[in-house]
Amino acid sequence: MTDAVLSTPAGASGVGAALRGVAGAVVPVLVVVAAIVALWYVACVPMNIKEALTQAERAGAVINPPSAIERRDASAIGLVVRNPSHASATLNQERPRLPAPHQVGAELWKTTGGMVLRGRAFSKRSLIYHAWVTLSATVFGFVIGTVAGVGLAVGIVHSRVMNMAVMPWAIASQTIPILAIAPMIIVVLNSVGVTGLLPKALISAYLSFFPVTVGMVKGLRSPDSMQLDLLRTYSASRSETFWKLRLPASMPYFFTSMKIGMAAALVGAIVGEMPTGAVAGLGARLLAGSYYGQTVQIWAALFAAALLAAVLVGAIGAVQRATLRRMGMAQ
């Protein structure tokens, strides 16, 4: 339209431009991640210095100040400044307040790749096993929640009474911390003999249910009146309108709400593993680590959970890109 458009980059063409684009996207992220890791290392020193000094004193070193009580009340940074030679000990403790990144990395490797190499990938001490337990509850619940959510959304879009009666509750439910009933669901279902995967999956299901419902209603309603009027001029039936217009138009919304639903389902499964003294799953690992002060184990479980979330949401994102590209809806 205007000449000004010229100054904005037109679609990248050529390998060089594409490479430059990728580097432009990746380099800043890598720098930020590196900065976070560096900050993490720096934070380890004051966080762990008191314990490090206590241990060093037991081993016979001279600490400034010498009294443990004085040290308890001293500032952590002040202690680091006065005992710089003991700073390195803060990065390799057994039970640090804040484990260093390489400790978490080592623990992660020990409980995943290391176990695989020893052929014990699914032993109770393997994070792969625990991640698998959480994953299966998450995915099972997510599928239930998504199917139910899409079903309800179709009902809401096609029935005026359902729209008027149910939709306000579906929206209001998003403002309520429904996660709070997770412990109750586990305990009640346990008491009637339902144990294992299903209670957790139900929590995941209802957490993913509402976002999917609300997102799908929005998606199925996204065609504008001109598009709907066009089908009316063809005297298309409701089901034809649904299959040929509403459903395809809702796809971007569908994937977006599935990503939200998947993240919520994972949180549900992890929290569902916490309250009952469950023995398996990433939530149980977190809880056990917190009981026994195994901070490295907590952090490893946390990173496994993060990785799981990234893989699950990333998988939906990949399907989204492929589908939308095939449908010609990709940006």
């Binding site: 205007t2 000449d3 010229l6 100054s7 063409s13």
Partner: protein
Amino acid sequence: MIGTSMPTERTAPGAGVAEADQPVIEARKLDLTFQTNDGPVQALRDVNLTINKGDFVSFIGPSGCGKTTFLRVVAALEQPTGGEITVNGMTPDEARRSRAYGYVFQAAGLYPWRTIAKNIKLPLEIMGYSKTSQEEHVARVLKLVDLEGFGGKFPWQLSGGMQQRASIARALAFDAEILLMDEPFGALDEIVRDHLNEQLLELWARTEKTIGFVTHSIPEAVYLSTKIVVMSPRPGRITDVIESTLPRERPLEIRDTPEFLAIAHRVREGLRAGHAYDE
């Protein structure tokens, strides 16, 4: 070629002859090349142009001919890659800092969270006018664009034409001598456009500003301008500069006179000549 054979006639009562030929914007061998992913694009090549005080200059040409880019260079929104340009004898950037011009964009671009009056005050606030003089300026320009009584409305409560008038008022509010307008009426319908064109001419006669005006429309360019700059794309350059022979006083009916049609014809010829380079 009727246009060039006759000297420009100046019938505006206020504009003295000596003042009239005082150059305000001067471009010499101006070049601008954009670096894009598809390689360099020459948006302007060897542009030479002088705009005198009190001129109404239209820039016309197809998309990509550099007319908007030239206006943006004058406004220091783009940096030329070669040649030189002065605005009031300064560089465009110095002129921008001394708030020498008001700029009107294709869309009104009013802030929806401010009322019309507050929108017009926006440049005045930034430039540090006193509260009382802000009120005076707003009242004056609202009257100038015929929007008295609408100062308290929000932009989204007004029609598109009224919004564009408000944005012109915003550009006029701070007494800049130069008014740069980038297709200000492009998004409006023909009837509203005619009306605004008429108002703009009246406003120009009353304020004696120097106006640079980008347009796609031949009748609009001929009706408004004292000077029409015809441009063509790839690379963006000036192919013709037409001095208008129409009187300054221009009723809408002037568009049916042979003189008007002759100038319009010459513009069209110029545009066609530019297109001959295509494909």
